[in-house]
Symmetry: C2
Subunit: 198 residues, 2 copies
Amino acid sequence: MPKIVDHEEQRKRIAEAMWRVILRDGMEGATVRKIAAEAGMSVGALRHYFRQQDDLLVYAMRLVNERVEQRILRLARTNLPPLEKAVRLLLEVVPVDGERRAEMDVWFSFMEHVRHRPDLEGIPENRLHLFVSQVLAYLQHEGLLEEGLDLALEAERMYAIVDGLAVHALLEPERLRPETMEEVVRTSLRRICRNRPQ
Amino acid sequence: MPKIVDHEEQRKRIAEAMWRVILRDGMEGATVRKIAAEAGMSVGALRHYFRQQDDLLVYAMRLVNERVEQRILRLARTNLPPLEKAVRLLLEVVPVDGERRAEMDVWFSFMEHVRHRPDLEGIPENRLHLFVSQVLAYLQHEGLLEEGLDLALEAERMYAIVDGLAVHALLEPERLRPETMEEVVRTSLRRICRNRPQ
């Protein structure tokens, strides 16, 4: 089915062009004209793949989500020691490198846009809160967490930490270094572990 | 000087109209025309107070900052027990009620806009990181913190927590209740205090 494959490839290519335009000019500057130019095609050709700009927006959001989820799944299958695996899982959603930074950047632009667009349908659900809860549940299952913790509260705290770091990395990139972000995540997990491993 | 006072009052009134438009329609919807209509004046009259839309943007951002700082100063002068004062100081920048929520909401819209506008001058500095550091320094000065803490790291963590909570309160208002936000802030401070006061 070369045609179908090609169709999907083109849609991805356009979505990635949209990301680049958003990274450069923000959501307000992400016009169909600019996205088409960035993808090296005419506005008419772009419209062949996405009839409405909203369709492209929803597709591009889903694509970011998918990329992150695939990295998380790959990491979850590895044989790292549990605490190290948990740290690395959480760091998948913190902008510690250029790839994650770009994802977070477009993601926040998307979120800022869609929260004023209650009419939009098909926006991917935010599953990050659930993901953080699952990482803590995994550590508990492995017997690493302190007893008597309020896991819902700990998940809320850890979720705030990873997204707070992400926002700060985007807004204050000169101040907040990747090593510091990793140290914050690592010590936050250690603090709720039995015996406080150093 | 009734004329000068009136001039400043009008500028405030326009900035507050801009906030309301942003809260409703986002930054992308905040056109001069809509802001003038919201303030109950003509576009021409608005231009008398702000020649460029960017002047209004910078002024409106400074006004949000000023309001928060004034509340913080008032609270800092009270005689609350140190830990309670520290908790309440941090809660001034977490959207636990409608007023703070509206401030955070426009603030994030502003930040998302200005990070793609390196040409803009006069944007108020983000002093929140410094503020959180000062709250921790205050607790240390009062002898409440555990010994041997890396205060820079603790400030980074606490700063991430308050801004992470703020982002989640804006994006997931149904899920994240004010009591939970307060509990996260309170237990995060307790955790770095000596004797872990309950």
